[in-house]
């Protein structure tokens, strides 16, 4: 009981993921800044922002539905943190796992987006409502290629349990090379989930102020921002676990370091992607996802099906 609580609340649960998330935000912003020929923030910037926001006045708009407005950030954060407990990175016996957990993880990762939608929608601001609608519209576009490419990797491993998927690729590392297309598709799709350029349409600053988060302030905004940071870490960790779970080779501390390094690598790739492009319009984004990303992920699916046929034979 005590151990389970420790796992959930401290390591590798809530506390660890939060700190990791804030550090990841710094890392992401720093790389983004360096690529743009800027200096970038110091390492404690994300923490300072978080603490400052916690101390700020917390305003709930009169017209907002207070309960929904209140619970949305908590739901978002909780589900994002939960995913991390299921991801096998360095710990050989993963904290929790069962057959089919990979599907559950993907759905848990969808909850923050829905929570953003609900929070934005019930805050009754026009900007927030527009942002919420964009949020969900976007969800339908990037979710499909993301699911397909991640699940096609699991398909090759012939299991729906992430632990087993990781074990499979650990055993046959060369097979992960066949998944490169899927990796890049899900990398781009994750940008949509994290609402970063070119898919930062739900919070396009120059169009709809802060989009979904327009009415949020103080504590609730701090939680929402933390959610995005945690989502970034969890998303990157999921990609690492599904496509390149090589940190499992190593013993505890070394494995931990390699896993962190791999996650940072994925975050750096995300930062690079968002440096070199402009924001798309929502219609262009949906077109891009369905016409470019989905065919690529279908190709990945087909490739893995063929490979799997060979494997059984």
């Amino acid at each position: 009981m005590g151990l389970a609580l420790f796992t959930i609340l401290i390591f590798p649960g809530f506390l660890f993921v939060s700190v990791f998330g804030l550090m990841a935000e710094f890392f992401d912003r720093r790389i983004y800044a360096r690529l743009q020929n800027r200096v970038g923030p110091p390492w404690f910037q994300a923490f300072a922002d978080f603490i400052k926001l916690l101390g700020k006045e917390d305003i709930v708009p009169c017209a907002a539905n207070e309960k929904m407005f209140d619970f949305a950030p908590l739901f978002a954060l909780t589900s994002a943190v939960t995913v991390f407990l299921y991801i096998p990175l360095w710990k050989a016996p993963v904290t929790f796992s069962f057959n089919g957990d990979i599907v559950m993880m993907l759905y848990l990762l969808t909850i923050p987006t829905l929570a953003f939608f609900i929070g934005g929608w019930y805050s009754r601001s026009l900007y927030a409502r527009l942002g919420s609608v964009r949020c969900v519209t976007q969800l339908f576009a990037y979710e499909v290629p993301l699911f397909m490419s991640i699940l096609s990797s699991a398909l090759l491993a012939n299991t729906w349990e992430l632990k087993e998927v990781a074990a499979f690729y650990l055993k046959h590392p060369l097979y992960s090379l066949f998944n490169l297309v899927g990796f890049f598709v899900s990398l781009i799709a994750i940008l949509g989930k994290l609402e970063k350029v070119p898919f930062d349409i739900p919070e396009a600053e120059t169009e709809i102020v802060a989009g979904t988060f327009t009415e949020y302030s103080g504590r609730r905004l701090a939680i929402l921002r933390l959610t995005i940071d945690v989502e970034m870490v969890v998303g990157a960790a999921l990609l690492v676990a599904v496509f390149f779970p090589f940190a499992l080779y190593f013993q505890s501390v070394l494995g931990f370091l390699v896993a962190v390094l791999e996650i940072c690598g994925v975050i750096a790739l995300l930062a690079l992607l968002r440096t070199i492009v402009a924001r798309l319009r929502i219609d262009q984004m949906i077109n891009f996802c369905w016409k470019v990303l989905v065919p690529f992920s279908l190709f990945q699916l087909l490739l893995n099906l063929i490979l799997k046929g060979k494997l059984i034979l």
Partner: protein
């Protein structure tokens, strides 16, 4: 928010897309713009009236502050008008220095615009890069005039500071770097897929519409209107310079971007010519304090388009009337046309594409006669009395306060 329902979304007076307060009320259907209501007037500063209260020499200082970006444009347009009334012959060296500063200003304005455009379409990397390079031209301007934005170079009858040989070398060095970078930006703007996707086909303004709505500057030139005051009505040293008027036939935001980045290259060419052919001689002639009676219209191709100044003198030290027609006032009508049937996401970049400067544009309009039955025109005194009464009805009495204020003022 069902997609068939229409609703209005306010963009401004305070909005992150706008750098100055201005109100755009947008009627939306889903993501589509059904109509736009533009309200100007949040930035009115009464400069034209203030000019009438000051002498011509003081006005040069004031007029320079009409705009924070094209400050040299406004002050040159003003002094040109005054010089025309006074019949002053400005020495050629001063004309060249004015042209030089004018082109440097165009470089800094266009680079600034490119960055803002990048930011509006969510491409912050472009913003950071162009604004980094803009520092080069800002440093050059600071080197020449001591100031980064309000250069204070113009005076009636010439310019106030000379350009030395060393400064010329520094400028050439800076311009060389800028030219390389600009070529890179042209490459970026014409090849990066997301930029092209966001810019081409957005904010279309056909040639006929551009002429009908009176668009000026790069906005008009991007619609294929080959009009540039520097070529059509040369002032300063432009008649002696060799340059091309850049036009484009894309007629959209993409075309406006192309026109601006290509104009940068033309500006570098002109800066080099100015420095090479800089004539010797004095940089100013003495101007009289009292400007003889007369009126003049002065035109100047500011970075944003044609800038028109009208000056009327009654023979005294102060002008009788100064009228400024900033380029944004000519372009703002086109914005409404450009936004027709576009998406909300295009709104910031379409507005930004005319390179708006709202504070230059805001004017006070006085309505003469009774426009409607519900409207009446009040004199200043009547308005004041009305306001006092209104506050008394609402329980706030100013009579005692204003009495106290008056007695205090009398003590001074």
């Amino acid at each position: 928010m069902h997609h068939s329902s229409k609703f209005k979304i306010p963009m401004g007076p305070q909005h992150p897309a706008l750098k100055e307060p201005e109100s755009f009320s947008i009627a939306l259907k889903g993501e589509k713009i059904m109509g736009v209501d533009i309200r100007l007037g949040y930035n009115h500063r009464g400069i034209e009236k203030a000019c009438e209260e000051r002498t011509f020499v003081q006005d040069v200082y004031l007029i320079e502050r009409v705009c924070g970006i094209c400050s040299h444009s406004h002050s040159t347009a003003f002094v040109q008008g005054v010089e025309e009334i006074a019949g002053l012959i400005v020495p050629p060296r001063a004309q060249y220095i004015r042209t030089l500063i004018g082109e440097l200003e165009r470089v800094h304005s266009h680079l600034l615009w490119l960055g803002v455009a990048g930011h509006e379409i969510g491409f912050d990397t472009l913003l950071m890069y162009t604004w980094r390079d803009r520092e080069i031209v800002m440093d050059i301007l600071a080197l020449l005039s001591g100031n980064r934005v309000n250069y204070g170079m113009n005076m009636i009858g010439g310019v106030r500071r000379n350009v030395t040989e060393e400064q010329a070398q520094d400028i050439l060095k800076g311009v060389k770097t800028l030219e390389e970078r600009t070529k890179y930006y042209i490459e970026v703007a014409t090849q990066e897929t997301t930029i092209i996707k966001r810019l081409s086909g957005v904010g279309v303004l056909k040639k006929d519409d551009a002429l009908r709505l009176g668009a000026v500057g790069p906005t008009a030139r991007a619609s294929g209107v080959e009009y540039d005051v520097r070529r059509n009505d040369p002032y300063a040293a432009y008649a002696e310079l060799d340059f091309n008027v850049i036009t484009d036939t894309n007629s959209d935001v993409y075309g406006r971007t192309i026109v601006r980045v290509k104009e940068l290259l033309e500006s570098y060419k002109m800066i080099r010519q100015c420095l090479k052919n800089l004539p010797n001689g004095p940089i100013a002639v003495k101007a009289p304090r009292k400007i003889p009676a007369g009126e003049a219209i002065s035109r100047y191709e500011a970075p944003r388009g044609e800038d028109v100044h009208y000056i009327k003198s009654n023979g005294g030290e102060k002008p009788e009337r100064v009228k400024v027609r900033a380029p944004t006032l000519a372009n703002i009508q086109a914005v409404k046309h450009m936004l027709k049937d576009r998406y909300l996401a295009d709104m910031p970049i379409v507005v930004a594409a005319i390179d708006p400067c709202f504070s230059c544009t805001d004017r006070l309009v006085s309505v003469k006669g009774n426009a409607g039955k519900s409207k009446k025109i009040l004199t200043w005194e009547a308005l004041r009395n009305y306001s006092v009464e209104w506050h008394q009805v609402h329980g706030i009495d100013f009579t005692e306060l204003s009495y106290k204020f008056r007695t205090k003022m009398e003590r001074f």
